[in-house]
Symmetry: C3
Subunit: 209 residues, 3 copies
């Protein structure tokens, strides 16, 4: 099934970007391995525990194997020049895929559209948050980068499309394209949230530095 | 039902104080929104996952709506002078309410008084801990402020009262007044834990600065 | 039952080392108490929530009592000279015990050997990770110390032994000795991961300092 392979690709991308993001801080292979796996599977794990569903990687350990391999490859990958840029775009589409799949998964459980959106966002950003917390880095919530916003808007768009046209198969693709595209644009043009949507910084941004 | 509305007020207060606590660090509206919602609902979420109960805001999403609105209001609220003091008192009573309600909820599940106290404390401080972790701030556990202590003592008081006088309806109010009152006094007089209850600081308090 | 008492000893050791590790940062007794209990019970709690088993200390609160007493003793223990070295060896054997017991527990649930290894590692290091996160300290994942590696290898060894000789009672002891022994050697000779298993530090190790 196509979706399954796409999920595996998303898992590998998250594990790789997770390792590359912390690699410069100088850690050993086991630490990098754990952080990469957490980045790839953490969001979905918290989601499944919250909705009291069986944790997805316990039922199908292939998710973990893919994350492990990708994390190890990224750890021993020696080209710092390639560290971020290209993978960040892949990461954007991986997050989009995870968020869309999670939103549909929760919608199918009849838990309601708002819960589905919440879980979609949690799945899209949860892994990265856990990775940053374990690595002692400021989380993306404290940065001005546009990361969570497209995911939130895209999950809202998806539930609206599902509600408006239940049968439409392309709703997921539309939300996927919206999230991945918006995030890609933010990356390409280094967009930041406008000032009026950002709190004054009348204090040193200790947590964000 | 009165208790329900009180819980909603407590949720709103936690979300607002959660946002105001991190606002100075300069973050965008989505980050503030997520941190406020986590501060308001995080403790109860972990509690429900630990006792394997359905997560409360999944069954009744109004908790999330209230937290979202309160977080947004607090984020765009422009009077820094009003930032902390008054809301800290409200926060104290919100934490007291959450702890008391959680303790009674777990007592009703027949999980035992010690578990009830543990979950009461977890619910009272969990949201704030998660918010500080996500915001990269030192958690209240590392500060000398008297915050967790009244909650712990109040939850113990509540289970003792429930055990001594099962029928008494005022036990909850007594514990509520004890926690909120003690915390308010600590705030008003800027009380700190006595030295003999505090570990020597023979090393820079890196984590607490 | 011997195993039960060993688990209690491991719990006490984890709570004590958890408190001693953060004591220098200067915190009050309640903060130390909570951090010690989290260090002792956090890993197993996350494990039980992930495999959807009843949280072990909710069913048997003695684990918490032991952790509370050990944390308080460690907090008021006044000999800084004795702070770390000896307890670190006990800590190594406590982690080994927790990991082995958790691996066998998950194997018994028929969740598969890879899940068992994952949960064994999670149980062995989870409490320490949560403690460091709550205390605002860099987690062991960002240090060069050899801590998670013996646990991971020992859990793999255990599932291999269980698979090869299902009836053999000594498999657990072998894995226990492997993990505790390897970690003890790493402590005694201050071993670090070899450079080729460690990522370059071409940037200040902010998170790890």
């Amino acid at each position: 099934m196509l979706l399954y392979y796409l999920e595996m690709i998303g898992t590998a991308v998250f594990a790789a970007t997770g390792v590359l993001a912390v690699k410069r801080q100088g850690l050993d292979v086991i630490g990098g391995l754990i952080l990469g796996v957490v980045a790839a599977l953490g969001g979905g794990t918290v989601r499944d525990m919250a909705i009291d569903a069986p944790v997805f990687w316990i039922r199908d350990f292939n998710y973990v194997w893919v994350a492990v391999v990708a994390a190890l490859v990224a750890f021993f990958f020696k080209r710092p020049s390639l560290r971020h840029r290209p993978l960040l775009y892949l990461d954007a589409w991986g997050a989009a895929l995870f968020a869309v799949v999670a939103t549909d998964k929760v919608l199918a459980l009849q838990l309601g559209a708002p819960v589905a959106v919440t879980m979609g966002v949690l799945t899209g950003i949860g892994g990265g948050l856990l990775r940053d917390i374990l690595a002692g880095r400021p989380t993306l919530l404290m940065s001005r980068e546009i990361y969570a916003t497209p995911i939130l808007l895209g999950c809202v768009l998806l539930v609206l499309l599902r509600h408006a046209t239940p049968g439409l198969a392309y709703s997921g693709l539309a939300a996927l394209a919206f999230i991945g595209g918006l995030r890609s644009c933010a990356l390409y043009w280094s967009l930041q949230m406008p000032a009026w949507l950002t709190s004054r910084e009348d204090a040193p941004r200790d947590a964000a530095e």
